[in-house]
């Protein structure tokens, strides 16, 4: 059939362009596909708790035997002819690639799917782990296969949960071992994810409480982790105590609306803006709390938990120094009649977003973030170096530059702290710093980096020095209190 001699049309170039775009997008998707969430198996034992990657092979999930057994003892594997021999703490195993029949301590063991060998590493089906581990370890093993969590021996961490009918109500969760979950808040929920703890569910996976503020909590597990979600109609806040064995959930502190409260000239219009919107998170409108608590100051001891901060010495970690300072500063401020919220009162892991969210939800007049260093001497005060950000959307502030409307208040506070430190002969320097979460805070925000006064690290931990610095900061805040206005 001859080609048509119709006039040239525009459909063909458009179709080709569309196909090229589709091809480019597929290429891009393939390029970034490595970033998708990896499947993992968590192993909990008396010796160690750890996680290993899970891979798919011929439609089944597999794990590496060396990776599983390695943290639990002495293990080695070698190929001997067509057989892969494994020795774990003098227990021998034999596996044949492409076959299901294996031998452990001379006794046959059938795998539910073929054994694979890859670069000298033996891979076994996930579902074979309980039987295999019991034979190698000689101890009971409990496997939550759907959640990919393996419990070796009597390691389970249990918890109880009870709502105290105080005002506001508090949910107190007590754990049989210290825990350190990552915490995230979203509308109607506070989620705690336990990546390293052998947390097991209570009798029921849904706990209900006789409280309209904290009506329920749910337990679920998956991809090697356990999660407790606490549900509530108001934003919730978690604090740690009892060396990580107790988590207390309360409604997040909120300021009462007050037409009489003085407003600092450079800050927001009366009523204040809602907290800035975090990228990817929906805006949270402050809901009415049963009994609002006003905090003038939020004190944030940086780092904590998994994140130790700087190693100030072989024995001293930044997170411990900042915690000590934070608690002392909180006490000093309260002693001066200044209502204070100390974000971290124990060795807990908190992300920068959590710190900023909790602070902004509390609507304080000032946020003080504490750091410590072994370098240099004296105190360094920092206000936020603002990065490139996006435009505010009406009442919603851009997350990365939320601090921008509070710069004058931050600088006023910084000057006041510097003056008080100077009066006490403490060397002080004021700088800008690209230090989160200062730029995310909707209040006056100052970071304090504490170094030894003399260059000797012992002085950094000296109660006298810590008290001197805490007093200076507290008096400095008091001196500028009227400029900062009330809690917002």
């Amino acid at each position: 059939m001859p080609w048509s001699s119709r006039p040239r049309d525009h459909a063909a170039p458009v179709v080709m362009a569309g196909m090229a775009v589709l091809l480019a997008l597929l290429v891009f998707d393939a390029a970034v596909s490595g970033f998708s969430e990896e499947k993992r198996l968590s192993v909990y034992s008396g010796a160690a708790s750890y996680s290993v990657p899970v891979r798919e092979q011929n439609g089944a999930e597999y794990v590496g035997l060396l990776e599983i057994l390695g943290p639990l003892g002495t293990v080695n594997g070698r190929t001997d002819g067509g057989v892969w021999r494994l020795n774990f703490n003098r227990v021998d195993g034999e596996f044949t690639p492409g076959q299901t029949r294996a031998r452990v301590q001379g006794k046959s063991f059938d795998l539910p799917a073929n054994f694979w060998l890859e670069n000298g590493h033996g891979l076994v089906p996930l579902s074979s782990l309980p039987g295999l581990m019991q034979r190698f370890l000689g101890t009971s093993v409990n496997f939550h296969e759907n959640a990919r969590r393996l419990f070796i021996g009597n390691v389970a961490v249990h918890f109880t949960a009870q709502v105290n009918k105080t005002n506001p109500p508090t949910l107190v969760m007590n754990f049989t071992s210290p825990v350190n979950p990552t915490i995230a808040t979203e509308p109607g929920k506070l989620r705690m994810v336990f990546n390293r703890e052998a947390l097991v569910p209570p009798g029921s996976q849904t706990l209900t409480f006789d409280s309209p503020v904290i009506p329920s909590a749910t337990f679920q597990e998956g991809n090697g982790a356990a999660e407790i979600a606490v549900n509530g109609p108001v934003p919730l806040f978690a604090s740690f105590s009892n060396n990580g064995r107790t988590i207390t959930i309360t409604p997040a502190p909120q300021s009462a609306a007050s037409a009489q409260a003085p407003v600092a000239p450079s800050t927001v219009a009366p009523g204040g803006p809602p907290p800035p919107v975090q990228p990817g998170a929906p805006a949270v409108s402050p809901a009415a709390a049963p009994s609002p608590v006003q905090y003038f100051v939020v004190v944030d001891a940086s780092h904590g938990g998994d994140e130790r901060g700087a190693a100030l010495s072989d024995q001293l970690e930044e997170k411990d120094v900042t915690l000590a300072f934070g608690l002392r500063l909180g006490q000093q401020l309260r002693a001066q009649g200044i209502s204070t919220l100390v974000l971290r009162e124990g060795d807990a892991t908190m992300s920068l977003e959590q710190r900023a969210n909790m602070t902004n939800t509390a609507h304080p007049a000032i946020y003080i973030c504490l750091h410590a260093t072994s370098q240099g001497t004296g105190i360094r005060l920092y206000t936020a170096l603002l990065p490139v950000g996006s435009e505010n959307q009406g009442p919603f502030l851009d997350w990365t530059t939320a601090q921008s409307g509070f710069r004058a208040a931050s600088e006023a506070a910084e000057s006041s702290l510097a003056a008080e430190l100077g009066k006490r002969q403490i060397a002080v320097r004021s700088l800008l710093a690209p230090l989160r979460p200062l730029n995310n805070i909707t209040a006056a925000a100052v970071a304090v980096e504490i170094a030894s006064p003399s260059g000797k690290l012992d002085d950094l931990n000296s109660p006298a020095y810590q008290q001197l610095v805490a007093e200076s900061i507290a008096v400095g805040i008091e001196a500028v209190r009227n400029q900062l206005g009330g809690a917002r």
Binding site: F28, L385, P387, A433, P434, L435, A447
Partner: protein, 185 residues
């Protein structure tokens, strides 16, 4: 739109490839690079001094290639050479390197550091801030037209350099200049 999609794909492939490259062994204390071709030019390096915690502008004559991106890479490698020296005023961890510098029009520069740079960096607000200010200000001064800088580590975004200095953001050159001014006092 087609060009944008193709450009994004190419950039993602390039970043992924870089992320799987093996790192320079720790025993190489100095960046290894081929000799630079080009006439010697006077440049300003912003050099950090831990004692007393300041930044100082320092003039240096170095051979610079003609290409803008190559000039940017060479500037930062020269700066890094100072820090990797035994008598450095602001020591960096062994194996620290600037893997690459990308200039993305208009006005955005992306500095890609290697993992050893961040993993071996001393932790502290001021010591990390000095490094960031040194890199950003040297680049912005030496390569006209740059007004924003993004810092990656191993081709990926990292939250902080060593626990403190923010690497999740894009740096505004004018704001950094203000910080540099304070660090020079």
């Amino acid at each position: 739109m087609l060009a944008l999609a193709l450009g994004m794909s190419l950039y993602a492939w390039r970043m992924r490839g870089r992320a799987t490259q093996s790192e320079t062994p720790a025993e190489y204390a100095h960046p290894v690079a081929a000799p630079v071709q080009g006439p010697t030019e006077q440049v300003t390096l912003y050099v950090a001094y831990d004692d007393p915690g300041v930044l100082r502008a320092q003039s240096s004559s170095i051979p610079l290639p003609a290409g803008r991106q190559e000039r940017a890479q060479e500037l930062l490698r020269e700066l890094l050479g100072l820090y990797m020296d035994k008598a450095s005023s602001h020591p960096l961890g062994p194996g620290s390197e600037v893997r690459d510098v990308y200039l993305v029009d208009p006005g955005l520069a992306v500095i890609d550091l290697n993992d050893a740079f961040a993993d071996g960096h001393r932790s502290g607000v001021l010591v990390e801030e000095l490094t960031v200010a040194s890199l950003v200000q040297t680049l912005a001064t030496g390569i006209p037209g740059i007004n924003r800088v993004k810092i990656l580590v191993g081709g990926k975004e990292r939250e902080t350099l060593a626990g403190h200095a923010d690497l999740s953001c894009v740096y505004d050159i004018s704001a950094v200049a203000q910080m540099v001014g304070e660090l020079q006092k």
